[in-house]
């Protein structure tokens, strides 16, 4: 759980003056301050001094704790006090201290993680307190205005994956006047003033003005470096802090942190309220009884038992009796319930942390339960919202297949090759410059290069020329796709060496060649292609173009028809494999054509208005009549086991939605490759309406099994009046992919499902753009180790591979849910069985709030005699082994349907508890009233009765927990037998003469234990009561398993019979 400091600013605009510390301080922008406080992420709650008061204050805000404090005060009133004060204070103190220890540990870890985050390095110009210099691969810590950088023209490359999930690099440029500032001394004297918008959450927009030397410069998003971005390909840059800490756009986008509660928590709170109601009812019944008794009997009995002086009539007596009964019956609202639940969850969290099968050895990261209060909710998940980049995929591109002149190469995808049957090509003998990490498995392509096939050569030549990659050999590509393609070309002998603004130098099969670069026709999302025009050493001018197949195939020369058909088939094949495809083409240009186009291009470039459009038109003009070379297929490698995981989760009836900021094609491709979308989902429905009406229309027309919702540019789908349609449509689809969603929209989608479906949701992601959805889902899971740790910090669980999700849900979640439910059932049962005996006794003791048991027994029952066996069950119980829950994902269903603990189950437990209390009171009552010891002394005295009932109770609830426990580890044995042992030991100690001699007024029960438990009649009574309590339960459970077995029963039985032959070995193996 993360608690971000929130700082509410209601400014209309923000003014920041460079190098004016006093002025800026009011925005907390002074860096020394900023580093210490407002830019720090503060997730911890306490320090050493504040811990005790703050923690106690918080704990007494819990209704339950306050209630017990109130009881404690009631007990100090002698007329009311039906129990000694310690019967309440001992459990209360225990509960408070356990919770305090847990809170302290939690906070200690938060302090540790805060320090880690806040100590990320960035250097501050010493004298200029608010300017930062940042170097390569550094995460920005605040929203900065880019002033200058080490690159020419104040350029600066950043990666925004943490913000929007897009992995291609983006360029930011400083305002030209500041880019010339250059070194630090000049920067130190820079005294411009920035006026800009107040803090907001729009990631793609910024407007402001820089006033410097009496001139105005407009500032846009192009000049901004936002927190969460990573500096790439740039040595250093200087920036002016505009927004810091909670004001940054990233933080503004991260959504509010809410305290997460599980549905079991909420149910538990409701039930506790009901129990309160029940308690009050019982109190009222007994108070009425008291009034009647005092009037009819008590008033006459005054010769032997006069009323207390302050009590002069039966009504007042009844009033006091009500409170007395509230005190003795308070154990139906078990004080140790909450703390036991916490302990169990903590145990489950440790099991998650310890799970070797959720440990990723590559990145040395174990799974981590960052929130320890949500475990059982993991067993009830119905919807998973997943990020794409870095979550489903590794975000590593590999050149996988290609089609050259109608010939396809590269038969096998990565997954096939894991088996090791195919030999990886070794490029080194052929090409010393090859990248040793490059994998390709089809030697025919290499042969074709070696033979000197002109198409193949041209294909790779294109790849080595037509790109925007910088540097040599250690390529810095704007997008990982490009990097993969250039690397492929490099391995096949066409090595990109260097570029200058006018030339590109390559090594073609060992021979250095320098091309004159005439023009670069940029890539953008509308054109979906890029081209270069180069003149080769021989003087021939050629345009090389690569781009999306849909766009490029339209612009081919008609003579390509046949080749185009074949290539299209290949492209479809690749796409079906979930590969990212590009088509490649070239066009020869004559000098005249080039001259003519070059002229029009220059015109367009110089135009002041509609420059973009005119450039695009110019590009369009030249990218015609091209000759098709072939196509490439790049695999955005899925993380290991993603399709399998998705398959298993789907079998478990969990619906998986992919929410990504990436573009639709990529998203759909990934949908196919991770088997979310399958071929029998013939048509993928895409909602791309831009107006409210068209979106509505789109929703109504959906009748398909899969939907891909594209949210750009306007998010009409999420508007209030569209909610229902969105939810009903999306939920009818087998698979849902939402693309182009902003971080906040991701959260909105999650909220919608939470609101309308009342289902448990889980969000999984790895980047800062997933933070809001992680926070708003019931459970947030962060993938660690890829895109920084923003997501992990906001998450409840974190691990490093998507595939661990199936284990987290189907094994840990399922067990947690099962254990928690069994725990709660038993817990309520044992407290009702314990407490209701007082109720029945009330009818025989003049409704005087006399307890049945010794006060020490009441104190210790919940915290010593019966706490550990049920805790052991709550922590260790298993119905089926972990492999089975993965083999039979249907075993997950009871959790989703909330079958194991709901109001009905609760009433059954309560009824069983009440039945037990009836038996435990009336059986000893009937037997002992006339019975005598073998010495003739009657057994019907109060102390014998108390010891008999208490012993019977402890034995009955122990037998019951033994019945409930399905997995008897050594701990269960130790705790169950230990509890019984401790009961007898403690009882004999408390009834011993030694203690009595020291405190004769505290230990009234001296000698009762021996004298009672030596009587055979007492044991016969206990055995009788136990049999009457347990036999019906046993019969009922047997019938249930025998006639209507649940899947888990069947699997459990099956597992045992399978292992029957191998006997003891099983226990070790399973």
């Amino acid at each position: 759980m993360t608690y971000f400091m929130s700082c509410v600013t209601s400014e209309e605009e923000r003014r920041v003056r460079a190098n004016d510390r006093d002025y800026n301080e009011k925005f907390h922008l002074d860096f020394s301050f900023l580093l210490i406080q407002s830019n720090c992420i503060m997730t911890s709650k306490y320090n050493i001094i504040t811990f005790l008061p703050v923690n106690l204050f918080e704990q007494f805000q819990e209704v339950a704790n306050t209630y017990f404090l109130f009881l404690l005060i009631l007990q100090l009133i002698p007329q009311i006090s039906s129990l000694s004060w310690f019967t309440t204070i001992v459990p209360l103190a225990l509960v408070l201290s356990i919770t305090a220890v847990k809170d302290a540990t939690d906070d200690y870890f938060r302090h540790k993680s805060d320090n880690q985050v806040n100590n990320r390095q960035s250097q501050v110009l010493i004298r200029v307190q608010w300017m930062l210099t940042l170097s390569f691969c550094i995460y920005f810590q605040a929203d900065l205005l880019l002033l200058s950088s080490s690159e020419p023209h104040g350029l600066c490359y950043i990666e925004t994956a943490e913000l929007d999930g897009e992995t291609n690099m983006k360029v930011r440029q400083s305002v030209s006047v500041t880019s010339e500032l250059g070194d630090q001394n000049n920067l130190a004297s820079f005294d411009g003033e920035v006026v800009c918008e107040p803090p907001n959450n729009k990631l793609d927009r910024f407007c402001g003005t820089l006033y410097w030397r009496d001139k105005k410069y407009t500032l846009t998003n192009q000049n901004m470096l936002l927190r969460g971005c990573v500096l790439r390909n740039t040595e250093a840059c200087y920036g002016l802090v505009i927004f810091a800490g909670p004001d940054t756009k990233l933080m503004q986008n991260s959504g509010r942190t809410k305290f997460k509660r599980t549905s079991i928590d909420r149910l538990m709170n409701t039930l506790v309220l009901w129990i309160f109601g029940f308690l009050v009812c019982m109190g009222v019944i007994l108070a009425v009884g008291n009034a009647v008794w005092e009037r009819e009997v008590g008033s006459l009995f005054q010769s032997y038992l006069p009323w207390d002086p302050p009590v002069d009539n039966f009504l007042f007596s009844a009033f006091l009796s009500f409170w007395s009964y509230v005190i003795i019956l308070n154990t139906v609202v078990p004080i140790s319930l909450y703390v036991s639940v916490e302990v169990i969850r903590l145990g489950h969290s440790y099991f998650i942390n310890w799970d070797q099968q959720m440990f990723c050895s590559q990145c040395n990261t174990a799974a981590e339960a960052r929130t320890t209060t949500l475990n059982e909710e993991l067993g009830q998940v119905e919807y998973i919202f997943s990020d794409k980049t870095g979550t489903l995929t590794q975000n590593i591109m590999s050149f996988n297949k290609c089609s050259i002149n109608g010939q396809t190469y590269g038969k096998y995808t990565h997954t096939h090759t894991l088996s090791g049957r195919f030999i990886r090509l070794d490029f080194t003998p052929f090409n010393p410059l090859a990248d040793p990490n490059f994998c390709f498995y089809d030697d025919t392509l290499l042969e074709s290069v070696k033979v000197g096939d002109s198409h193949t050569h041209e294909f790779f030549r294109l790849l080595s020329l037509c790109h925007t990659v910088m540097r040599e050999l250690v390529y810095k590509a704007q997008s990982p796709d490009e990097g993969a393609l250039v690397t492929a070309a490099r391995n096949f002998g066409f090595v990109f060496r260097s570029r200058t603004p006018g030339t590109i130098t390559t090594t073609e099969i060992g021979r250095p060649v320098t091309y004159t670069l005439l023009a670069i026709l940029d890539f953008n999302n509308i054109r979906k292609r890029m081209s270069v025009i180069v003149r080769n050493p021989e003087g021939r001018i050629r345009l090389y173009c690569k781009g999306a197949d849909t766009v490029l195939l339209e612009r081919l020369h008609p003579c390509n028809q046949e080749l185009m058909n074949i290539t299209s088939d290949h492209l479809n094949e690749y796409a079906a494999d979930g590969l990212r495809t590009l088509a490649l083409a070239y066009r020869d240009l004559s000098e005249d054509e080039w001259e003519a186009w070059s002229e029009s291009h220059r015109c367009a470039d110089k135009a002041t208005n509609c420059r973009e459009d005119r450039l695009a038109a110019a590009y369009e003009e030249i990218e015609q009549d091209m000759m098709l070379l072939g196509a490439t297929a790049i695999e955005d490698k899925l993380q290991e086991g993603v399709p399998e995981t998705i398959a298993v989760l789907s079998l478990a009836n969990i619906k998986i939605w992919v929410l990504t900021g990436d573009k639709q094609e990529t998203a759909v491709n990934i949908g196919y490759s991770c088997k979310m979308l399958t071929d029998n989902m013939t048509e993928v429905f895409i909602i791309r309406g831009h107006t409210v009406q068209s979106v509505r229309q789109d929703f109504r027309s959906v009748s398909l099994s899969a939907a891909c919702l594209s949210f750009s540019p306007a998010a009409h789908a999420l508007e209030a009046d569209m909610e229902m349609e969105f939810v009903s449509t999306a939920c009818a689809c087998k698979a849902v992919i939402c693309c182009r969603v902003t971080p906040l929209q991701k959260a909105q989608v999650v909220e919608l499902i939470k609101k309308h479906k009342k289902a448990v949701t889980l969000a999984i992601g790895d980047g800062a753009n997933d933070v809001s959805m992680i926070k708003s889902a019931h459970i947030g899971v962060g993938i660690s180790g890829q895109e920084g740790i923003q997501a992990v910090l906001a998450s409840d669980y974190s691990f490093s591979q998507f595939r661990f999700l199936q284990r987290l849900l189907l094994v840990h979640g399922r067990w947690s849910y099962l254990r928690m439910c069994r725990f709660l059932c038993y817990f309520f049962y044992k407290n009702f069985a314990f407490t209701m005996v007082h109720f029945w006794f009330g009818f025989f003791c003049g409704f005087s709030a006399q307890t049945v048991y010794d006060q020490y027994f009441i104190t210790l029952y919940n915290i010593v005699y019966t706490s550990l066996p049920v805790l052991a069950m709550g922590i260790f119980d298993q119905d089926v082994p972990d492999q089975r829950s993965l083999e039979y994902p249907k075993l997950y269903e009871p959790g989703q349907l909330n079958l194991l603990f709901n109001k009905r189950e609760f009433f059954i437990c309560i009824a069983q508890g009440i039945y037990t209390s009836v038996v435990l009171f009336f059986v000893p009552c009937a037997v002992l009233s006339d019975a005598t010891q073998s010495t003739g002394v009657p057994l019907a005295d109060y102390q014998t009765f108390a010891v008999t009932t208490a012993t019977a109770l402890v034995i009955v609830v122990s037998v019951q927990i033994a019945l409930d426990t399905g997995f008897w580890t050594v701990f269960n044995h130790v705790f169950v037998w230990g509890s019984l042992g401790s009961y007898f030991t403690i009882m004999f100690a408390l009834h011993s003469q030694t203690l009595f001699k020291i405190f004769p007024n505290q230990f009234h029960f001296v000698g009762s234990a021996q004298s009672t438990l030596l009587q055979p009649v007492v044991w016969l009574t206990i055995a009788l009561a136990t049999a009457i309590c347990i036999v019906p339960v046993l019969a009922f459970r047997f019938l249930k398993v025998d006639l209507k077995p649940q899947l888990s029963d069947t699997v459990r039985k099956h597992t045992q019979t399978q292992h029957f032959g191998s006997g003891r070995e099983v226990a070790k193996k399973v």
């Binding site: 040395n364 005087s848 249907k890 019975a931 057994l939 008897w968 047997f1038």
Partner: protein
């Protein structure tokens, strides 16, 4: 394969284990492979199958039924005689005593009840008094005592616990023994006579010691040590008492004061409003003659203890005893019933199991 593109860097949070070996071995965070941490502890996993549950029912039945029969028989062999001497009816000899009771009267009222034992009582016979509708288990009654005082504590003797109110002090002096329980000590005197064939009354010797718990007599109740229990204690007797505590049994110092057994028995409060307490033991005289031969008897009551005001009842009970205590038919019947039900349930479940069981051919687990 890594493309040349320098994919996303980690940001210092996780020290990458994959970082190129040379930089020193990074400590693996891999969790320990222990059975405990991996939740693979060896465990016994019981299942409720027909093979285990049905035999359990039969076994319970087969154990309970004989025990029940044994209990029932031995309970039936016990002789018990009960007589109510409250004096509610005008026909009752104690009627006048009950009606004319006054706390202030100095002369005790004595009444006699005749009764006949149809069968002889063998072995030791235990004599109880029983009270009904007497709430010894009322919370205010139960706590109205001072165990320190009863344990002989000097300071508690002089300054009894507040719990004893309103029987803590009287006339400015502390009450010993204080509290409502002690105050309401049962003080009827019961004497038993056998009318033999000559119509002469033979006193039956009643043993008044050995009727309390050993721990009560020897640990819980102690007389205040060095000071003799006498007037000089500066304590007052409980208001209802006719004589002070040190005169409860002046003849026997070992049965006087706080360790008087009648007093101890009374102080062990009853669990239910109808109860009996051991009063006297009639010891077996010889192996040949029964302790109480069948015939006529007279119970002579010194009627000191009023119960009519709150509709209470007083009884005298004579009973013999077996290994499992006094007469207790309920336990035997309950055992027989429960045992039979178990057996019956076992049969029913067996039939249900055979009739409806689909005998899950374990292979067909739905998936």
């Amino acid at each position: 394969m890594a493309t040349s593109y320098n994919a996303k860097e980690e940001d210092g949070h996780h020290s990458g284990a994959s970082s190129h070996g040379a930089a020193g071995v990074v400590k693996s965070k891999k969790p320990d492979n222990t059975a405990f941490k991996q939740q693979r502890l060896p465990a016994w996993q019981p299942i409720l199958t027909a093979g285990t549950v049905l035999p359990a029912f039969f076994v319970i039945g087969l154990i309970f039924i004989p025990i029940g029969i044994g209990l029932y028989v031995s309970s039936n062999n016990i002789k018990e005689f009960e007589i109510d001497y409250t004096g509610v009816d005008i026909s009752n000899p104690c009627y006048s005593c009950a009606k004319n009771f006054s706390w202030n009267s100095t002369t005790p009222c004595v009444c006699s009840m005749n009764f006949t034992l149809e069968q002889p009582f063998e072995s030791n016979v235990f004599m109880y008094y029983g009270l009904s509708n007497f709430y010894q288990n009322h919370r205010r009654y139960v706590k109205s005592r001072d165990d320190s005082q009863l344990n002989g504590d000097q300071s508690a003797l002089k300054n009894p616990s507040k719990e004893c109110e309103p029987y803590r002090t009287s006339d400015g002096l502390p009450i010993a023994p204080c509290g409502a329980i002690a105050n309401s000590l049962f003080n009827d005197t019961l004497e038993l006579y056998h009318i033999d064939s000559n119509n002469t009354r033979n006193t039956i010797p009643l043993v008044k010691k050995g009727i309390a718990w050993w721990t009560d007599k020897h640990v819980k109740f102690r007389n205040p040590g060095f000071i003799k229990l006498n007037k000089h204690l500066c304590t007052n007797k409980p208001v209802n008492w006719r004589k002070p505590v040190y005169e409860l049994d002046p003849s026997d110092p070992d049965n006087n004061g706080f360790i008087n057994e009648d007093f101890i028995v009374w102080m062990r409060t009853a669990a239910l409003p109808t109860f009996r307490k051991l009063y006297r033991i009639i010891q077996k005289k010889s192996n040949t003659t029964p302790t109480l031969p069948s015939g006529k008897y007279v119970l002579e009551i010194t009627y000191n203890y009023p119960v009519l005001s709150f509709d209470g009842r007083k009884r005298m009970i004579l009973s013999t005893i077996s290994w499992m205590g006094g007469k207790n038919p309920f336990l035997g019947i309950a055992y027989i019933t429960v045992g039979s039900i178990c057996f019956f349930l076992g049969v029913v479940l067996l039939i249900i199991h055979h009739k409806y069981d689909t005998r899950s051919n374990s292979a067909d687990i739905p998936n």
